[in-house]
């Protein structure tokens, strides 16, 4: 088709595609790619700079262009199941009915560890992710990145075509030159080949890699990942071998966390949150709680749940940990850190709870700290009880800093002819001193397999679109080693290739599909009869039952004392962002707009400092400051957060992406530039310079004190035991009859209600994303959030109480309270929000004219308004994600939590078909389903035996603003903590 070299326009492209069908469709596309006109077209339609996402107007306009663009308009049109035989989660797949969702069990790898999931698909479109209730790592819940994964699948910024030097090529033409390059390497046994991957945990991929290394013995395989170094190397340091610690928080009476965020992110966070909560909640007459001490260099949602929290400058944490290790191992603690009441009480508690305690270190902490923690757990006899040690989950556990050093050495030595980078984004995530951007260019041929045209792809000639985990077969372990089989849920939207395909290219069967690769791997490992049945079961369940990693016995030794880094007046501590992690999810708008639990910020990271530090440096919120560490500097905006240790600023990693996409590019600043391999967790000798201007930060909450209104009611375990009804005494709810308009509305059939246990909630925000995914909630962009116009139906309020410098933090999920005397309803002039017979406060979008009176009159301010056209009507791929059971709202209408009415009705229809009442637990709201801590109960209040009814009978149950006589259907169980009386007010 060389005659068509003039510039294409959309019409002509679509016309030419329209002529082609089926197989020829793909061919015509390949041909099309190879025309010069298409390049011009591609670049015209895909501008490099995409910061426009931040400016919402610009974003929408930009989306209009994007939505119309070829790949979306053309390829998403032919979405179909792959030809391999996949197993629906339901028994009889042939019963697939239009409009009836089908769930498939699969997995979603988050930084190497697979979250077991069930994916809800409508007509083969994945629309929503739920946890796999049968999988020990999930029990039905998921973490935040997993919830947001569907948006990543449909991200229109994904790399959509094979390119060579920015020119679109066909995959076949890539294979041609790639295989040629390989054959040239055969002579040298692949000495010039270098493969850089993320931490490989997939056994199939691991086996493939071994195969590759067998074919090319001299080839190099390096791994680099943004996080998890301390955990790996720490185990190696302590035990002399790599092991994987698995914690049993449900067995722990005392938990001591050293800068840990095990409730917020990291391996096993979902199960850990559930287990931890199970020892904290006081429902059903329980009157015991575990006790939780936390030491933190920067406040996290996990530390917010502690009974005692000690802010420590990062340079002090090793000192403190060594002192603690000495104290709990029968030695003598030294240094002034050991004199605090906090320290002594913690040691006392830990020693008293031998075999029933857990000491855990943060993902961002150094190997030394992790090693000390292993040593402590051993001294406290926790190994095998509350802390299980299993074989490592990595296929090849290594010190990845060493890997990186070796790689750079190879590159500098000019030894690398063919550099293959699979996944990850090393150019962005590696500490600055490795200068991968520059060094990579020393490799002759650079091939990049990735989801995006990101910072790493930028320096590679070949860019191959990678398949999203939902588009491929694969496998991988959960935190405890339980193996998941990941089945594809949709054909690759952009014709991507998986890592399995990539490595297959090295073998003599370069075209072998990943389905066979995965299946054959497991077949080779399978013992016993009837592999077929086993395989079906495994794919159907989404995981291999009882495949948890075997326990190993290992003995930890006290690591040799490293030279303690001298503290300095100003230090900085680095933290992996709980949502975008090392930046890999930076282009996920749901995650960008999801408020961080502690800072309550969206769309940016910030220079977090304490009130006192800010005062000393004469800085205010949103002051733009330059952060300098031995020569390297970045700028960010100041955000004051109580509980941050004085003289320390906390910054989160994963921001400041330069080539993330419309959502991630330009969001925040890149703190990686300040890190060094020698001290990746913190830096001392930090210089802060006020640049004398403001850079606005989009926070969703601006006031953090309860102003004596007790929206969150709290108490200590002691208080609760002394007076179980103390919660009821704070404010009185007027009697039902107290109104000038007495009415006799009754809810005879179902009466839906919800209860939320504030002791369990750890503010992880998974419920908020789940709600966003389930209910087609629009993203509004930073500009709108700045004007407090975010659309989240469910928000998690965060309040502080107690000591201003180091306060207790409280989380409170607030959605529509579905008041029986709803203030919003009486003021609506068009009856657009009314009650139904089951007590739901319904919002009728079609009827709403948008007076916003209902929102003004809502004492909870849970209503959200489409001030502008927030919903993206144009981007084709995003349309695929939407839940067909939920109205997509347009401009000018009010919206709010509906108690997932679509799920209620689904359950009711199912029940009516069987002529029975809906059973308790049949209706599970999106927030409830995904809550890792099991903090939410929902059900029929007319059923006295329902879970929610039981919760509401608890003595801790109270209504938010009940004194207004709004009669909310949502109630809360007060937050109870278990502080050690010996510590007292020094929290």
């Amino acid at each position: 088709m060389t005659e068509q070299s003039d510039s294409l326009n959309l019409e002509s492209v679509q016309k030419r595609l329209a002529q082609a069908t089926g197989k020829s469709y793909w061919r015509s596309l390949d041909e099309l790619f190879s025309t010069a006109g298409f390049q011009e077209f591609l670049h015209r339609e895909f501008p490099r700079q995409a910061a426009e996402w931040i400016d919402d107007d610009g974003r929408r306009n930009f989306l209009k262009i994007m939505g119309a663009s070829l790949a979306l308009a053309g390829l998403t049109g032919c979405v179909k199941q792959p030809v391999e035989y996949v197993m629906p989660y339901v028994e009889e797949p042939e019963k697939l009915l239009a409009g009836k969702p089908v769930f498939y069990a699969s997995g979603y790898p988050v930084a190497g560890l697979v979250s077991p999931i069930l994916v809800e698909t409508h007509d083969f479109r994945p629309t929503k992710v739920e946890g796999n209730p049968e999988h020990p790592a999930s029990l039905g819940a998921t973490d935040v990145p997993t919830q947001a994964s569907v948006l990543g699948l449909y991200d229109p910024d994904r790399l959509q075509a094979v390119t060579y030097l920015d020119e679109a090529r066909s995959y076949s033409s890539f294979m041609l030159s790639f295989l040629t390059a390989l054959s040239q390497q055969r002579a040298s046994a692949g000495a010039g080949i270098c493969i850089l991957t993320e931490t490989v945990t997939s056994p199939t991929l691991g086996a493939q890699m071994q195969e590759v290394l067998k074919q090319f013995p001299a080839a190099k395989w390096y791994q680099w990942d943004g996080q998890g170094h301390g955990r790996r190397s720490g185990a190696e340091l302590a035990f002399g071998q790599y092991v994987n610690p698995v914690y049993k928080f449900d067995q722990a009476d005392v938990v001591f966390s050293i800068d840990g965020n095990f409730l917020g992110s990291g391996p096993g966070t979902v199960r850990y949150a559930r287990d931890f909560a199970s020892r904290r909640v006081l429902r059903g007459g329980v009157t015991t709680q575990s006790r939780f001490y936390a030491v933190e260099a920067s406040p996290t949602s996990t530390g917010s749940k502690s009974d005692h929290r000690l802010p420590l400058k990062p340079s002090q944490i090793p000192v403190f940990t060594r002192a603690l290790a000495a104290a709990v191992s029968g030695g003598q603690a030294s240094g002034e850190v050991s004199t605090s009441k906090f320290f002594q009480a913690a040691v006392k508690d830990l020693l008293a709870a031998k075999g029933k305690s857990i000491v855990i270190a943060g993902e961002d902490q150094s190997a030394e700290i992790h090693a000390l923690v292993h040593f402590m757990n051993q001294a406290l006899e926790n190994h095998g009880k509350t802390v299980l040690l299993t074989a490592p989950l990595e296929q090849k556990a290594t010190d990845q800093y060493a890997d990186l050093k070796a790689l750079v050495a190879d590159l500098n030595g000019g030894k690398v002819d063919l550099l293959l980078i699979i996944g990850g984004n090393p150019v962005f995530t590696a500490p600055a001193e490795f200068n991968l951007r520059g060094n990579f260019q020393k490799a002759k041929t650079r091939v990049r397999l990735g989801l995006y045209e990101d910072e790493t792809a930028e320096v590679c000639q070949w860019r191959i679109p990678e398949t999203h985990p939902f588009e491929q077969w694969s496998d991988g372990p959960a935190y405890d080693g339980t193996m998941s089989i990941m089945q594809p849920l949709i054909a690759p939207l952009y014709g991507g290739k998986s890592a399995h395909n990539m490595l297959a290219a090295f073998t003599d069967t370069p075209e072998k599909p990943d389905y066979l690769l995965v299946r054959e791997y497991w077949q080779s490992k399978h013992t016993g009869a009837d592999f077929e049945a086993w395989w079906k079961r495994a794919v159907h369940d989404g995981f291999v039952k009882g495949s948890a990693a075997a326990e190993v016995t290992a003995t930890a030794k006290m690591p040799a004392a490293e030279a303690a880094v001298a503290g300095s007046a100003m230090e900085v501590s680095f933290h992996t962002d709980p949502y975008v992690l090392d930046g890999r999810y930076a282009n996920n708008a749901w995650l960008q707009e999801l408020p961080r639990p502690v800072t309550r910020l969206t769309w940016d990271n910030a220079v977090v400092m304490s009130e006192k530090t800010a005062r000393d440096l004469d800085l205010k919120d949103e002051d733009r400051v330059e952060l300098a560490v031995n020569g390297r500097s970045v700028w960010g905006s100041v955000w004051r957060v109580p509980g941050q240790p004085d003289g320390t600023v906390g910054v989160s990693l994963g921001y400041g992406r330069t080539r993330a996409g419309r959502a991630g590019t330009g969001a925040g600043f890149n703190a990686n530039l300040l890190r060094s391999a020698s001290s990746p967790t913190f830096a001392t000798g930090v210089k802060l310079k006020n640049l004398g201007e403001k850079f606005p930060l989009a926070a969703v909450q601006h006031h953090f004190l309860m102003e004596g209104r007790a929206p969150v009611r709290e108490g200590t375990l002691a208080e609760y035991i002394k007076d179980p009804l103390f919660v009821q005494k704070e404010t009185e709810t007027p009697p039902a009859g107290l109104t000038i308009l007495p009415s006799d509305w009754q809810y005879k059939g179902y009466a839906w209600g919800m209860a939320i246990d504030l002791t369990a909630c750890n503010g992880c925000n998974a419920c908020v994303v789940a709600c966003q995914a389930e209910n087609n909630i629009a993203v509004v962009g930073k500009g709108q959030v700045l004007n407090t116009r975010e659309m989240h139906w469910l928000r998690i309020d965060r309040y502080y109480s107690g000591d201003a410098a180091n306060p207790r933090a409280h989380f409170q999920p607030v959605g529509c309270q579905h008041c029986e005397n709803a203030p919003c309803e009486i003021v609506c002039p068009v009856a657009a929000t009314v009650h139904d017979a089951e007590g739901l406060n319904n919002m009728v979008y079609n009827r709403c004219v948008g007076t916003r009176y209902c929102s003004n009159n809502c004492p909870y301010k849970v209503r959200r308004f489409n001030f502008l056209l927030y919903t993206d009507w144009d981007t084709e791929s995003l349309k695929l994600q939407r839940n067909p059971d939920v109205t997509v709202r347009s401009r000018g209408v009010m919206e709010k939590c509906s108690f997932c009415v679509q799920r209620i009705n689904y359950a009711k229809i199912m029940a009516e078909k069987e002529d029975r009442r809906v059973k308790d637990g049949e209706v599970i709201t999106a927030c409830q389903a995904t809550c890792p801590a099991d903090a939410i109960a929902f059900g029929d209040l007319n059923d006295p035996e329902s879970k929610v009814s039981k919760w509401k009978r608890e003595q801790l149950n109270y209504s938010l603003l009940g004194e207004l006589n709004t009669r909310p259907r949502v109630t809360y169980l007060a937050e109870i903590r278990n502080p050690n009386p010996a510590v007292g007010e020094e929290s």
Partner: protein, 461 residues
């Protein structure tokens, strides 16, 4: 019926109308403004200026229809901003007209005769401006008609418990009745214009409008009865309208809105701002059209007194609001008033106190009451103050209500301002047209004020 009330300071401020006037001279003077006066440069300039301002409204409204109310500064929690502030402000201004024409009529205040026509016109135009905002501020203005009760295939009716539905009825009723009252009052004067106009098209136009009115005694008798009845109904109406407007706030449960004192204090505030606006307009008009022998110092003096009186009522309202917030011992109420006085919008609160309570105290002095210049300045200050009052009520109550987690701030955008200034333009534009095409003073009622018009005196001669 109307005897001028004998004011103690009558001698000082002079009569309600210059004694030299005769039936003929009055008719010619007032009618002359419409029929004979040349179009002046000043008038043309004023008209164009206000028309230019009107374009702000046109532009802002267009953009609003295209993009949505998001172009304004409103957000969650402050769901209402300029739109509602301006709505209440304009409606309030309107009230003075009805008050002067209806209540003062019932109270036999003959001095009203010189100013009621103008005040009523002002009412109409103000209500027009006001009426625009509730429509514009909806998220989907093209569906605003759903607030009207009309039979429809959806079998849906408005939700009549909502104060906004009450507003619809109150404001439309107010607009219709004011228009009717105004037109009825115009009938005889239109006849006068018809009879005294020289140009044919004027004769025809005013003739059609006058509907063949011929000053028959039998007509006058029914006419007067109807006027009295209209006045009698317009009086409770004008009170009800701002009461209903205050219900928009009082019926809600937001601290700072949910108070029983709102209805009386809104009505008083309305009259207050209305009289201020009458002064603002009358003082220049009477100067430029040389009507100071008809709109005498006596009028200014009386209007100033009413302004002062209502200012005191409003002051009482503010004090009570604060007192009850404290006295209720309700933590939300207490915080609300404290936040008003010392919160981020403290400046608005204290400026309004300065404008609405401190400034009018000057009106105790008769000297100031009778010096148009100063009076005009004061009236402007009061107008600003009353606008700020609505700003404080709407914004400071909403921006920090029950849950501290949801507290926010509100800042208007350029489009908020454009819309507001645009309605000012529309208002002035209509006023400028009005003074040229209709008698701005009720001629036939002026005639009744003339000594020669009274039967016994005329018999005596």
């Amino acid at each position: 019926m109307s005897q001028p009330v004998e004011l103690p300071d009558k001698i000082y401020v002079g009569p309600v109308i210059d004694e030299q006037h005769t039936l003929a001279s009055i008719s010619d003077k007032v009618g002359g403004v419409v029929l004979r006066r040349k179009i002046t440069l000043g008038w043309t300039f004023g008209l164009l200026l206000s028309f230019a301002a009107l374009q702000g409204l046109a532009g802002a409204a267009t953009l609003l229809f295209v993009k949505g109310v998001g172009i304004w500064g409103i957000n969650i929690p402050v769901g209402w901003g300029f739109a509602i502030i301006n709505f209440v402000w304009w409606i309030g201004i309107g009230h003075a007209g009805t008050l002067i024409s209806a209540i003062l009529l019932l109270l036999n205040q003959s001095w009203r005769n010189a100013i009621n026509r103008f005040a009523e016109a002002m009412t109409l135009f103000a209500v027009m401006c006001a009426g625009m905002f509730p429509v514009l501020h909806t998220g989907r203005p093209w569906l605003a008609y759903w607030l009207l009760p009309y039979p429809n295939t959806m079998w849906l009716w408005p939700q009549f418990r909502s104060p906004l539905a009450w507003d619809v009825f109150a404001v439309t009723t107010y607009l219709i009745i004011s228009a009717v009252f105004w037109f009825v009052g115009l009938l005889p004067d239109l006849a006068t214009l018809r009879d005294s106009s020289k140009k044919d098209w004027q004769k025809r136009t005013y003739g059609i409008l006058a509907m063949g009115w011929r000053n028959s005694a039998r007509h006058w008798q029914r006419y007067e009865k109807a006027s009295l009845l209209l006045a009698g109904m317009a009086t409770p109406l004008v009170v009800s309208v701002h009461t209903v407007v205050s219900f928009d706030f009082a019926v809600s449960l937001i601290p700072g809105w949910h108070t029983t004192i709102f209805p009386p204090y809104f009505v008083a505030g309305a009259i207050y701002s209305g009289f201020a606006m009458v002064l603002t307009l009358m003082i220049p008009v009477r100067k430029f059209y040389g009507l100071d022998d008809i709109i005498t110092l006596r009028h200014l003096n009386n209007m100033a007194k009413v302004t002062l009186a209502t200012a005191l009522i409003v002051a009482y309202g503010y004090i009570m609001e604060a007192f009850f917030s404290y006295f209720s011992a309700d933590k939300y109420e207490k915080f609300m008033i404290w936040n008003r006085m010392t919160g981020p919008y403290w400046w608005a609160y204290w400026t309004l106190i300065l404008c609405n309570i401190i400034t009018p105290q000057f009106l105790w002095s008769k000297k100031i009451r009778t010096s148009p210049g100063i009076l005009w300045v004061i009236s402007i200050v009061v107008n600003i103050g009353m606008w700020l009052e609505r700003f404080v009520i709407v914004v400071t109550s909403l921006h920090r209500d029950f849950l501290p987690s949801s507290w926010g701030m509100y800042a208007p955008t350029v489009w908020d301002w454009a819309t507001y200034v645009g309605t000012l333009g529309l208002f002035m534009f209509l006023i400028f047209l009005f003074v040229r095409v209709l008698p701005m003073i009720t001629i036939f009622e002026l005639r009744m004020l003339l000594p020669g018009a009274r039967v016994k005196e005329s018999v005596a001669r």
